[in-house]
């Protein structure tokens, strides 16, 4: 099968790769671009740990054809920190002990960012709704919900 040239913005930087037809975005990001922050969990859209933003909208990269992001902007956890500083959401996750094994964390952070980018002061129910496609086995969600609410209200350590 011939390779397809693909160009898009990856965390604010233009990238150009060649993909096989049918390659999903998760594989393109991890294996061709080398961005390992979106995780491979179930590969079927059931766990949420591969979540990325495409033009600001939350997508499961394992179920997104790489070709469909041509010319669009893809954000991953790798682009979240601001220079040497953590993003307030990352800081809030650390402050609130919102990670244990950490495997769901990249997806949780992207889902949370998608929420706060469009709704900076969400209610608790809106936070729950926003992360409802993401599974966490360790935390019981409570610390994650609290972290997102803390980031939204600016209750984040320096």
């Amino acid at each position: 099968m011939s390779k397809i040239p693909l160009q898009f913005r990856h965390n604010g930087r233009d990238v150009a790769i060649f993909v096989d037809g049918g390659t999903n975005l998760l594989v393109a990001l991890r294996e061709l671009i080398g961005d390992m922050t979106p995780k491979f969990g179930c590969g079927q859209g059931g766990c949420g740990t591969c979540s990325v933003l495409v033009d600001g909208e939350l997508h499961l990269s394992c179920l997104t054809l790489a070709e469909t992001v041509a010319g669009r902007s893809v954000e991953t956890l790798d682009g979240m920190k601001q220079g040497p500083s953590l993003h307030p959401l990352q800081r809030a996750f650390a402050d609130n002990f919102a990670a244990q094994c950490g495997y769901c964390t990249p997806g949780m952070l992207m889902a949370a960012k998608a929420l706060l980018d469009r709704n900076p002061s969400p209610s608790r129910d809106e936070v729950i709704e926003a992360i409802s496609g993401n599974i966490c086995r360790c935390t019981g969600y409570e610390p994650i919900i609290n972290a997102i609410l803390a980031a939204a209200s600016g209750r984040v350590s320096a």
């Binding site: 179930c42 079927q44 059931g46 244990q100 094994c101 950490g102 019981g140 610390p143």
Partner: protein, 340 residues
């Protein structure tokens, strides 16, 4: 259709560690020429916080700041032996091994400092901020960094220590069947409140209240994290997860996370936790460990709460809507029990 509320409780007595051929863990501690210390373990931190807790234990025992200690875990090829991270044994077994190793390393460090300050090692103390000084004379002081450099480049000493903690195998008495499978026990009590829908058989968690006695909580935030998260693993075992829903027929087994159910963020409920600290005599700084115990009492408490709500006893896990519904039908309807 009615939703019935019910409350159930369970208490547990949980052994720390296991009793299969003896239960040892080892640790090695050494200083780098920078004056920082490395703890080598082959124990695994799955996210419960073993790295943080062993780091605290090592720093406290050495008498150095916690930021001067690094913990290197989980290389069973090159690290000292560990039985593993299970049976709630990490803090207790590995912590004790780290403590022993740090104690030995501290001895060498104090000897090296004594040589530099030209005093007796017994007259020295650490200030916990990275300095060693003569007792009662804080100006006669040397930094742990300078001690490490002197030991490495001048004295030719390794500031290091070995540690092992072993709970030997307890054999079963052939006459009485008696044995001592563990050296200390943690305890917990949990009350679960549920709502059971008698039309669908669905069980929703309403709230949990619990008390845990787990020795000294060496890192209270990590203990809380473990208890909050672990309770939901318990709920998951009680109500959702099974690889074999129609055992032994494998046909309807789940294939993915869409079919292998777990609680989602919308399923959680408030959980009020009290942590009681009764230091264990043989624990590192009195610690036992929250470990698996955080999930265990949830299962019987939820089963009891369902009985309290609709009067059916389900003794097979997980307690799926189908099982609840069949049991309600079999007894001719929901029979709410007295509220407790």
């Amino acid at each position: 259709m009615t939703r019935h509320r019910g409350r159930g409780m369970a208490s547990i007595n949980y052994p720390i560690g296991m009793n299969l051929g003896g239960d040892p863990s080892q640790a090695l501690v050494h200083s780098n020429p920078s004056g920082k210390f490395t703890v080598a373990l082959s124990s695994i931190d799955l996210g419960q916080g073993m790295k943080s807790v062993t780091r605290q234990i090592c720093a406290e025992t050495l008498g150095v700041p916690v930021e001067d200690v690094y913990v290197d875990t989980a290389d069973s090829d090159t690290g000292p032996h560990c039985m593993g991270s299970f049976a709630s044994r990490g803090t207790h077994r590995v912590g004790n091994a780290v403590m022993a190793a740090a104690r030995e390393a501290r001895g060498v460090m104090m000897e090296a400092a004594a040589e530099e300050l030209e005093v007796n090692a017994a007259d020295l103390e650490t200030d916990g901020r990275g300095n060693i000084h003569v007792k009662g004379a804080p100006h006669r002081s040397i930094s742990t960094k300078d001690v490490a450099i002197a030991a490495q480049f001048k004295q030719g000493k390794t500031i290091s220590g070995r540690g092992i903690f072993l709970v030997p195998l307890s054999n079963v008495d052939p006459e009485t069947g008696e044995m001592s499978p563990a050296t200390c026990y943690a305890h917990a009590c949990l009350v679960a409140e549920v709502e059971v829908d008698d039309e669908t058989g669905e069980v929703a968690m309403v709230r949990m209240d619990s008390a845990y006695e787990l020795g000294r909580a060496l890192n209270p935030r990590l203990v809380e994290q473990q208890l909050v998260g672990g309770a939901w693993m318990g709920v998951s075992h009680a109500l959702y997860e099974t690889p074999e829903p129609y055992y032994p027929d494998p046909v309807h087994g789940p294939r993915d996370f869409v079919e292998y159910l777990m609680p989602g963020p919308g399923d959680i409920c408030p959980h009020d936790i009290a942590v009681l600290e009764r230091p264990a005599p043989d624990g590192p700084f009195g610690a036992k460990g929250p470990g698996e115990m955080c999930a265990n009492p949830v299962l019987p408490a939820v089963a009891n709460a369902i009985f309290n709500a609709v009067g059916v006893r389900i003794d097979e896990l997980p307690i799926t809507p189908e099982k609840v519904l069949r049991a309600i039908k079999a007894q001719g309807g929901a029979r709410p029990q007295a509220r407790r």
